[in-house]
């Protein structure tokens, strides 16, 4: 998955997230068109109601559920705007949430808000910590009974891109986890 955030000179904005799902999608390549194909139907696997073990069959034309959250936050009064979204499968919502909290509530710079190591809660209710996550906080959470995942996630593929407009100033940040770099003028 990949996300791009754009802010134009007139204040118009676009958050766009695009994906072929897991790395290299279905690993099916069309040699004559040069196109790699997605494996998005995999996302139908997690589609069941609480307490039910039945996964309903796919419906032609159905779009599988997604974690993608290309979002725009607007503060009309202060003339500020945050254009944000991310990549990383099920980590997307955790990563984007923490970037928004860091930026809008905790006063981080946009770059630091995105760079801060994240935590994630998996479907078993266990907490997974990105390497370099604050050890003191991790210990504090364990003391409160938060159970951490036994099997450590091999890689954290979360990557957040955002643009923040604050009056006349425009800040843009791409995630260094994916060696990204924003551009502007």
């Amino acid at each position: 998955t990949s996300h791009v955030s754009v802010l134009g000179e007139d204040g118009s904005a676009v958050a766009a997230t695009s994906t072929i799902n897991t790395p290299f999608g279905a690993m099916v390549y069309s040699p004559r068109t040069g196109i790699l194909l997605n494996n998005e139907l995999l996302d139908l696997c997690w589609r069941h109601k609480p307490g039910s073990t039945v996964t309903p069959p796919p419906v032609p034309g159905e779009q599988p559920p997604s974690s993608m959250v290309p979002s725009i936050l607007i503060n009309e009064v202060q003339g500020s705007k945050l254009v944000i979204g991310g990549a990383g499968g099920e980590l997307i919502i955790s990563a984007v949430t923490q970037a928004i909290v860091n930026k809008l509530w905790l006063g981080f710079s946009l770059t630091d808000a995105i760079a801060a190591p994240i935590l994630h809660v998996n479907s078993k209710g266990h907490v997974e910590y990105e390497p370099k996550f604050n050890q003191e906080v991790r210990k504090g959470l364990q003391d409160r009974g938060q159970s951490q995942s036994q099997s450590q996630r091999p890689v954290f593929l979360n990557s957040v891109q955002a643009v923040f407009q604050e009056g006349p100033c425009v800040y843009a940040a791409s995630d260094l986890r994916k060696a990204g770099k924003a551009s502007g003028y």
Binding site: L36, S52, G180
Partner: protein, 387 residues
Amino acid sequence: MAWGHRTTVCLVLLGVSLGLAIIVLAVVLPHHQASCRPDAFTRAAVAADSKICSDIGRVILQQQGSPVDAAIAALICTGVVNPQSMGLGGGVVFTIYNASTGKVEVINARETVPASHDQRLLDQCTNALPLCTGAQWIGVPGELRGYAEAHRRYGRLPWAQLFQPTIALLREGFRVPPILSQFLNTSFLQPCLNSSTLRQLFFNGTETLRSQDPLPWPALANTLETVAKEGAEVLYTGKLGQTLVEDIAWQGSQLTVQDLAAFRPKVVEPLEMALGNYTLYSPPPPAGGAILSFILNVLKGFNFSAETVAGPEGKVNMYHHLVEALKFAVGQRWRLWDPYSHPGIQNISQDLLRETLAQHIRQQIDGRGDHQLSHYNLSGVRGNSMG
């Protein structure tokens, strides 16, 4: 004499006014600029996940392109620079704010289930993990029709111009970017890549390509040129689509030209939720905006700030509340079913945005992190690795 006096008074007043104006500008302007940090831009910006694609988007803006033009150009580029992540064979969701109307719109071009698909597909879920490779998992790609719809509604530059920078990138000796190289050389991906048709693109003999190795990709360059010239329709109702379907059919795909022709992006209203002084606009199901809104709605009631997290205990407290909110959110993810295909759950996601629900959840969050899974409606949740 009276005329001379009046002139003198006028000149003095003019001089004083000019002086005042200069003083005001001298005081206000530096303050105005000083309020931006040194890393700020003053007009516009693009944040893609690579420098080269951010630059391509920025140039499009400087050529008087709209933000949608810039986003499309940056995404076309990303399909080349980070092909492990996205490309024309995938799907896209746009959230677009139009400053002149104040309206926000979502264009949803996520892939769809083809008309003909393996009836026992979902029986293969467990065995197919973690990578789920294979043609049976391919959804109808929506990417290009998503671009075309966004461009039709908000584009300013000619369609073809958005493709030119990436075509040039491919034609001028494109090399393997470092991040792509990392993926190509990841041990758990390599066996799958080696046994797939991607081998012909990303391998040199028996070895995967390394960072900065030449990556000739003339087929994609030709495709981009064709789409630039003939429009997105060439993939959905034209020769390019026919070629794509034929190419992947021998790899087991049941995708048809009719599936491609039938794909339509959806233009929908965003979810809208007040978040302090901000309004959050995010995409409705099947995208994840309702879950993001739910988490932030719960958390905003705890009033976290730089002051409240200044000490170690404050930090632990905030992350504890975050973890609890995320647990409740995992228990709500089932609500992201496609509302068009499952009309029974049409408005269920709206419930997630209600303040009464946020309040109810906040009341269930205490100092403990060891509640049973049922406390969070997490019992029976089997996995959620949707992308």
